[in-house]
């Protein structure tokens, strides 16, 4: 697998007057699980989408493994990067198996390899192999997003990008899928960037949390370091939210002696 260090250098994006990204610089070493956290409009999704050129920055450069991603045609870059969408975005006219096989087919893998890969991926995301022939519309929300993750990983990418992947799921499914994705990250040695507005999810899954506000990075570090060192009241508030919520929950449920 190629070296997958991600280097973001002075990336800027504007929509008219609105600044979506203000000279963001960030280096993500290979193998790290990074959570981009922030309120709506903080620029976290915009930043994620610049990484596979779904959005083109106005200024700055992004290098993956030392190579500028703006060099070749965008589809070639995207085939090497797994992407999990917020709205899942499974192709409704294709079966589950065909959805997973989409990128390997674009890469002209031999059919036998594709079939084996689809079966392996269904097992990897804990879905029965028989599901390959079902239509996406027959699946539950959690099953659909598992297929979304399998599709993103199909062509054996080194990098996995996820845009609020668990946002629409019920809490139990969300918890289970989050844990599974983290396990996959470790097992496959991925470099993962996940956008979320849920600090608890970020703390539970990520090695490193990057907090954005108004298109700029306002905090960056491992969860435990951030918890110790951050002074910015807004970020502090955000970081403390899960703990406060846990305490309130414990109090109301009568635990925590």
């Amino acid at each position: 697998m190629a070296v997958t260090d991600i280097e973001i250098a002075g990336v800027e994006k504007r929509y008219g007057e609105h600044v979506a990204l203000a000279r963001v610089s960030l280096t993500i070493p290979a193998g790290q699980f990074v959570a981009l956290v922030g309120a709506s409009g903080s620029g976290k999704t915009t930043l994620l989408k610049t990484l596979n050129r779904l959005i083109t920055p106005d200024a700055g450069a992004i290098r993956i493994g030392g190579e500028d991603i703006g060099a070749g045609p965008p589809h070639r870059l995207r085939r090497k990067i797994g992407y999990v969408f917020q709205e899942v975005g499974l192709f409704p006219h294709l079966t589950v198996g065909e959805n997973i096989a989409v990128t390997p087919r674009l890469l002209d893998w031999p059919p036998a390899r594709i079939t084996a890969r689809v079966e392996a991926l269904l097992a990897l995301v804990a879905l029965p192999v028989a599901m390959a022939s079902r239509a996406p519309s027959e699946l539950s929300g959690g099953q659909r997003q598992r297929v979304g993750v399998a599709r993103a990983l199909a062509a054996e990418p080194g990098i996995l990008l996820m845009d609020e992947p668990f946002g629409a799921l019920d809490p139990l499914t969300r918890d289970a899928l989050g844990t599974d994705v983290r396990a996959l990250h470790d097992r496959l040695g991925l470099t993962t960037v996940m956008v979320t507005h849920d600090m608890a999810e970020a703390v539970l899954l990520a090695d490193r949390i990057v907090v954005l506000r108004d298109g700029a990075v306002v905090a960056d570090g491992a969860p435990e370091d951030l918890a110790r060192s951050v002074a910015d009241p807004g970020v502090r508030d955000l970081l403390d939210a899960p703990r406060r919520q846990a305490l309130r929950l414990a109090a109301r449920l009568g635990g925590g002696q």
């Binding site: 589809h75 085939r79 992407y83 969408f85 975005g89 192709f91 409704p92 006219h93 674009l106």
Partner: protein, 511 residues
């Protein structure tokens, strides 16, 4: 009825070939346009409005407009490359029907493509599809059910409108309708309508099967519908393959009974000589001559006065023989067209009235008619009042009728009989003049030119001895009485003969 069935394989084959080609071409044109329209909002309005505008042109006019346009193009390519192409028949019909098929497909395909979920579009980009792959693998399959609805509409329109290709010289199921209308053969008209409607329903149902298959992502239905269509088209086209004998003669005819009979007379003689003959009937008056001059038809019968005024633009009247002699020289020099000779009868424009009405008003000549014109209504055929002959006779006598009403020839006689009009522009060889007891008004000023029926042969057949030998025996042999009898056998209300039967009876009477 059995005669209608005998003609069906040929008519149906051409009708299917024409509508299937037009539909295929229409889809091929409108899909790229729909892709462009769905991506660029600035293109959307002009494209959809343009296609909508074409749809508002009456189909018959659209078909008619392509003939002069193609003729011009054909002359241009001929002067550039030395090879022209046929401006008559298949090509103008195909182009007009293709334009007709574009709108419904363009409209629904644009809607369908714009209706694809943006999240699915983004996913297509995200998994690494190129814009082309996104279109073919995601957008078009998802828009397919909506597009198919437009294809169904286009198919039904095209099959219906294809019946109108008969007047520009393309054989279709419209031949039943146009010929039936002229000869008052209502069985033919109904047969043509029923055949065309059945075809449209079959195509619609098979396309509907494909549409349902596309909507339910059921490949078997899509394949079944598609296979049904392909097999249907293939079977319908079989007669063209077996009839596709080496090039023969093309005999033209204008759009009235006498022309059908004379075309059958000519075709019959050529066929008995072993030649393969194609008939192009229901041609407009000017279309027929131009098609002959361009070599698209080989032979047809026209009338000396018509060519004299319409083609040569003459307004003088030097007399019957002088006109035919002058035509022989001038057409040869102008277009290489051979005037083989006069058949022996005249089919002149003649003003006719019911005998008792003429007696009551005391009208015997055009001069009398002109005096009473302000109180009288004139019925004419569709083209007479636009023709130079009318301008000539009007200039000579100074008519100002109370009303002038245009009819299909068949209905013109009806209108005279029922008293809706007082006088009509009849044809002197028409059997109905004798049968309906009409009087033909005299022309004391000689304003109407002579109308000898003359056999015209295209320049490219000028050296064809076999053709000349087959047709020369007809010259001077057809009397006006024989022609009237033949015409009447086709036009009368009961016990109608077909033009082919009338032609056989006419030929038998010659010998």
């Amino acid at each position: 009825m059995s005669e209608a069935f005998a003609l069906l394989p040929d008519y149906l084959a051409w009708h299917v070939l024409l509508s299937a080609s037009a539909l295929t071409l229409g889809i091929a044109i409108s899909l790229p346009l729909a892709v462009a329209a769905s991506r660029h909002p600035r293109l959307r309005w002009p494209l959809l409005a343009g296609a909508g505008l074409i749809q508002t042109i009456p189909s018959l006019a659209l078909l008619a407009l392509f003939f002069p346009l193609l003729l011009l193009l054909s002359r241009l390519t001929e002067s550039l490359t030395g090879h022209g192409f046929s401006a008559l028949g298949f090509l103008p019909s195909l182009l007009a029907l293709t334009l007709y098929a574009v709108l419904p497909v363009l409209r629904t395909a644009t809607t369908g493509l714009m209706g694809v979920d943006p999240a699915v579009r983004e996913a297509a980009d995200g998994v690494g599809m190129t814009p082309r792959q996104k279109l073919w693998r995601v957008e078009l399959p998802l828009a397919l059910p909506v597009i198919m609805a437009g294809v169904r509409t286009a198919a039904v329109w095209t099959i219906g409108a294809a019946t109108l290709s008969t007047p520009v010289g393309q054989t279709s199921l419209g031949n039943y309708i146009f010929a039936g209308l002229q000869t008052e053969n209502w069985i033919f008209v109904l047969f043509g309508c029923a055949a065309s409607a059945t075809l449209a329903i079959c195509a619609d149902q098979l396309l509907g099967l494909m549409e349902a298959g596309a909507a339910r992502r059921d490949r078997r239905r899509v394949i079944a519908g598609g296979a049904g269509l392909l097999i249907g088209v293939a079977i319908a086209l079989l007669p063209l393959v077996s009839f596709g004998k080496p090039a023969g003669y093309t005999v033209g005819a204008k759009n009235f009974s006498e022309q059908y009979i004379l075309a059958e007379l000519v075709a019959g003689r050529l066929e008995r000589g072993g030649a393969h003959v194609v008939r192009k009937e229901d041609l407009g008056s000017a279309v027929a001559y131009r098609a002959l001059a361009a070599g698209e038809i080989d032979v047809y019968v026209d009338y000396s006065g018509t060519v004299w005024t319409s083609i040569l633009g003459r307004t003088d009247n030097p007399g019957r023989e002088a006109v035919v002699d002058a035509l022989t020289k001038e057409l040869r020099a102008r277009d290489g067209v051979v005037v083989l000779g006069s058949l022996g009868f005249e089919n002149a424009y003649a003003f006719a009235m019911r005998r008792e009405r003429a007696a009551e008003l005391g009208v015997t000549s055009l001069a009398d008619l002109a005096r009473l014109a302000p109180r009288l209504k004139l019925g004419s055929d569709i083209e007479f009042l636009s023709r130079p002959e009318w301008k000539g006779v009007d200039a000579a006598y100074g008519f100002s009728f109370k009303r002038e009403i245009r009819y299909q020839p068949t209905f013109m006689y009806r209108a005279l009989a029922s008293g809706d009009v007082d006088v009509i522009s009849a044809f002197s060889s028409d059997g109905r003049i004798a049968a309906d007891d009409l009087v033909v008004l005299t022309d004391p000023k000689g304003a109407l030119p002579p109308y000898d029926a003359v056999v015209l042969v295209s320049g490219k057949r000028a050296g064809d001895r076999k053709l000349m030998a087959a047709l020369e025996p007809l010259i001077g042999k057809v009397s006006v009485e024989a022609m009237r009898a033949a015409n009447y056998s086709v036009d009368r209300d009961g016990d109608k003969a077909t033009p082919a039967e009338a032609a056989r009876a006419l030929e038998a009477a010659l010998n």
